[in-house]
């Protein structure tokens, strides 16, 4: 495992892309930054701009408008950039699969590296998912 990847796994800067979610997942993600869960222990912080980000964190089912934005966000991110889908909607569209305004799932627009299901997933589940992602990078 090279130094570049090791440094990447120790300091993940997250850009939060909300692709028409119901905001429950976003609340759980904000919980990660609070004193109880504090992901800054692992060097994870929220980045303000997509150009600084290492992780593109997607919540919700993309609709016709956010689909294009999501694609452009991924193109604007400096590589290597990981994509994490948080919540059942982002993982597989669940009950919105046949909806008129749901053209595709997240992983049909951008290559997803980790899926964290749950409606919404608990903060512990999100931390566990991100640690599994880091472990899979290390191999």
């Amino acid at each position: 495992m090279n130094l570049k990847l090791k440094a990447l796994t120790k300091s993940l800067w997250v850009f939060h892309a909300a692709c028409s979610p119901c905001n429950n997942c976003d609340i759980e993600i904000l919980d990660l930054l609070t004193p109880r869960y504090d992901v800054e222990r692992f060097g994870i912080t929220l980045a303000a701009s997509i150009r600084h980000a290492d992780v593109l964190l997607v919540t919700g089912v993309p609709n016709y408008k956010t689909k294009e934005r999501l694609k452009r966000l991924y193109q604007q991110a400096p590589k290597p950039c990981l994509v994490v889908a948080v919540g059942s909607c982002a993982c597989g569209r669940v009950c919105f699969k046949d909806s008129y305004n749901s053209p595709c799932a997240v992983d049909e627009v951008v290559p997803v590296s980790a899926y964290i299901p749950g409606c919404p997933p608990k903060p512990e589940a999100i931390i566990a998912g991100i640690l599994k992602l880091i472990k899979s990078l290390k191999i």
Binding site: A7, K10, E40, R41, G43, A48, R51, D54
Partner: protein, 304 residues
């Protein structure tokens, strides 16, 4: 020649100040985390962040190659020069040259100018808002900062040489032990907060409203250089204040204690204040801060 290069690149210069700056940056993050009842990052976090940014792809906006990529280095080189001059004048006060205080004051503005040039060349509307705010911020804080430096100069017998200022304080006591010294020091601490871009005055890269503002288009290596410049500034400006106001006893233990003391004050101000709007910032610096600084200068001229 080799000694000069060693001074510039390794001991009081680049390597030393970068390491100290990153450790100070960690202290800032850790203490902020403890104040918010969190655990905070490990001590090597800023080094890892820097390494990671070196390994990332660098994206350059269309039609802005030269200025966009050169401006971070411009800021970094000038800040290293400042830290070298300061470190040498602390170690060998008699070898400093005439007027190096003025050189230091000029060089300390260049990082802000580099930020403005880089942000304007990126062509992003949010970055241009950030650049214009940074410009106003520089105009705002330079006046009270220079006035408080002038107070220190008057207190140490009109010397504009860092070595002479240190020598004067060595024989007559620190500049801060007087009414004018205390007032000037308070003003300088507030200006330092703005110079470092920390919270009450971080309008130029307000994360919530304009998404990192001036830094929005930077990624990879240039962003790492900007972070490094910020880290070295976090080491340099408090040391400048120590030289100007607290220069009585500069043995290593006292120097570190004074530096950490100033750092703690900065971090506490950062964590207990909300961000001011740019018009409020301007009003604050040109109003109360400048008036306080002028009062300090007048008191110093009267000998208080």
């Amino acid at each position: 020649m080799i000694k000069l290069l060693f001074n510039y690149l390794i001991f009081p210069g680049f390597l030393f100040s970068a390491v100290i700056g990153f450790l100070a940056g960690w202290l800032e993050r850790k203490i902020s985390a403890r104040i918010q009842w969190r655990k905070g990052p490990p001590w090597y976090q800023n080094f890892v962040d820097f390494l990671k940014l070196l390994g990332k792809e660098t994206i350059v906006p269309q039609g802005a190659k030269l200025t966009f990529l050169l401006s971070p280095f411009m800021g970094l080189l000038s800040v290293i020069l400042v830290s070298t001059i300061l470190g040498l004048s602390i170690r060998l006060p008699l070898e400093s040259f005439m007027g190096d205080l003025i050189v230091v004051l000029y060089l300390l503005v260049i990082p802000a100018i580099a930020l403005i040039v880089g942000a304007s060349s990126s062509g992003n509307p949010l970055a241009s808002i950030g650049a214009s705010r940074e410009m106003k911020l520089v105009l705002a804080y330079e006046l009270p900062f220079i006035l408080s430096v002038i107070t220190a100069v008057i207190k140490s017998g009109g010397a504009i040489q860092l070595g002479l200022i240190l020598n004067h304080q060595l024989s007559f006591g620190s500049n801060i032990i007087s009414l004018s010294g205390v007032i000037a020091f308070i003003v300088a601490i507030i200006c330092l907060q703005a110079k470092l871009g920390l919270v009450p005055f971080d309008v130029s890269e307000a994360e919530q409203e304009i998404m990192a503002g001036t830094l929005i288009e930077y990624s990879g290596l240039p962003l790492a250089i900007f972070k490094l410049t910020k880290a070295i500034l976090l080491y340099t400006i408090p040391v400048l204040l120590i030289v100007l106001f607290l220069g009585k006893d500069l043995s290593p233990a006292f120097l570190v204690a004074k530096y950490i003391g100033i750092l703690l004050v900065i971090i506490l101000i950062k964590n207990t204040n909300p961000r001011l709007r740019i018009d409020q910032t301007l009003k604050f610096f040109w109003g109360s801060a400048t008036i306080l600084a002028i009062v300090a200068v007048i008191l110093a001229l009267w000998g208080y």
